[in-house]
């Protein structure tokens, strides 16, 4: 028996006996393992996104046409806001690593300050993401969907997209939303678009400068624009419904899958950021009441810091594959 039973001597107890495998504490190593597995999860999502994008290579929306909003400013500014978000997240990563560094020097005041700034950065980021989601869901211009489910955008002569509300002509339709209270009790439908297809078509015919931009990307990397006569034929033969904004079923920017991935991946990342903010707040208060001061080590700040940096790391990839490539 003596040969098979491990004796509880200090030599055999790895973390408990003063030696650390790979010179890493238990908590830190497990945080790294968690990060590896979480990285694989995000890689799976981004790979799935890449799959669908390769599959619908020619009809996938161009990010510059989709994410063009900046708060409080009207107009078309692609990339600016998301660059700001990226910078905020990198900045909060920096304050986090400064907090870890201050922890190594057992400088409680500095850890407190930097943890506070990190939480602030995280909150600004989540707020920005909420804005991004809300403008994406609301939509700006509206689009015509064809029988096959493709999206047609309406453009003016200068290549600027035109909102449906700016040219649709009322046709006196009295179609109302079917709600179960006033119709068949066992069924209902979602809110109707502000305009019917007939109203948009009538408006399109009345404005000779309007043309259609198809969902297909041409050789030059831009979506194909049709001539006026082609546009009219396209709308009359293929047009069916109106799409405003984006949800899981309809999407005015392109294939519904694009919106699904956007909600799912940025949503899952935003969820990670929210969890990170919560962990940071817990650590912040622990620092304030002196828990780590008494413990003699600020390693907890370091472990949560690893998680926070990981969230930043994931955003770097989301930024590239959703907004740049």
């Amino acid at each position: 028996m003596d040969t098979t039973v491990v004796k509880p001597s200090a030599e055999n107890k790895r973390w408990g006996g003063g030696t650390e495998p790979l010179k890493t504490s238990y908590g830190k190593m497990m945080m790294w393992f968690f990060i590896t597995s979480d990285a694989l999860t995000f890689a799976g999502f981004l790979a799935a996104y890449g799959f669908s994008r390769f599959k619908f290579a020619d009809s996938w929306p161009i990010a510059d046409n989709v994410f063009t909003h900046v708060p409080f400013i009207h107009g078309n500014y692609p990339m600016i806001f998301v660059a700001f978000m990226t910078f905020i997240l990198i900045m909060s990563s920096v304050t986090m690593v400064l907090a870890v560094d201050a922890g190594h020097h057992k400088n409680k005041a500095k850890v407190t300050l930097y943890m506070f700034l990190t939480i602030l950065g995280g909150l600004i980021f989540v707020g920005s993401q909420a804005y991004e989601w809300s403008t994406f869901i609301k939509g700006t211009y509206g689009a015509v969907a064809t029988n096959g489910g493709n999206i047609l955008h309406v453009m003016d002569g200068n290549g600027n997209q035109v909102a449906l509300k700016d040219f649709a002509i009322s046709q006196g339709s009295d179609r109302e939303q079917h709600i179960s209270r006033s119709g068949l009790w066992f069924t209902s439908e979602t809110a109707l678009p502000s305009y019917t297809f007939e109203e948009v078509l009538a408006g399109f015919k009345a404005n000779p400068e309007l043309v259609v931009r198809t969902t297909y990307t041409g050789e030059d990397g831009h979506k194909t624009m049709l001539s006026r006569s082609e546009s009219l034929r396209e709308l009359e033969t293929k047009g069916k419904t109106i799409v405003e904004g984006a949800n899981l079923k309809h999407n005015e920017y392109g294939p519904p899958l694009f919106a699904n991935y956007f909600f799912f991946i940025t949503g899952f990342h935003g969820f990670h950021v929210s969890i990170g903010i919560m962990l940071n707040i817990i650590i912040f208060f622990n620092v304030l009441i002196g828990t780590y001061e008494r413990r003699g080590s600020y390693e907890m700040v370091e472990k949560v810091g690893l998680y926070w940096h990981f969230v930043d790391l994931v955003w770097v990839f989301v930024f590239t594959f959703f907004y740049l490539v």
Binding site: D101, T146, N150, G221
Partner: protein, 127 residues
């Protein structure tokens, strides 16, 4: 970990810092520059970078490489991977790299194949 345990060089010793705090700011400046380059390229999309290289636009290769560069510095300097034992570092990094590279290859290959079937087969989506 004491302060002197940090490795204070980046770019293979080209840039050396006096303290860990200084290194953090240095890496921030570097990451900001890389992000700024990405954003500027993303807005202007120079015509010269729109050529196909190895099945993808040169611009997209630049974006992906810059992203990996950023990921490297975040992991190595912000997450202190630079200061860990090489065995531990390899354990974490190579596991991810191998699995993700494999997954990406196999899934994107399949996506491209299905696109080919859609484009050349008898599937009509534009009507």
């Amino acid at each position: 970990m004491a302060t002197d345990a940090h490795k204070l060089e980046i770019f293979r010793g080209l840039v050396k810092f006096k303290s860990n705090t200084q290194k953090i700011w240095g890496v921030l400046i570097f990451l900001s520059i890389v992000t700024a380059i990405e954003v500027v390229l993303g807005i202007y999309k120079p015509e010269i970078l729109m050529v196909e290289v190895l099945g993808m636009k040169a611009l997209n290769w630049i974006f992906i490489i810059l992203t990996l560069v950023k990921a490297y510095y975040i992991t190595w300097d912000f997450m202190h991977m630079r200061d860990e034992l090489p065995s531990f570092r390899r354990m974490i990094v190579w596991t991810g790299v191998f699995l993700i590279a494999y997954l990406m290859f196999i899934i994107l290959q399949e996506g491209g194949y299905i696109e080919h079937v859609f484009a050349t087969g008898f599937v009509k989506t534009d009507f």
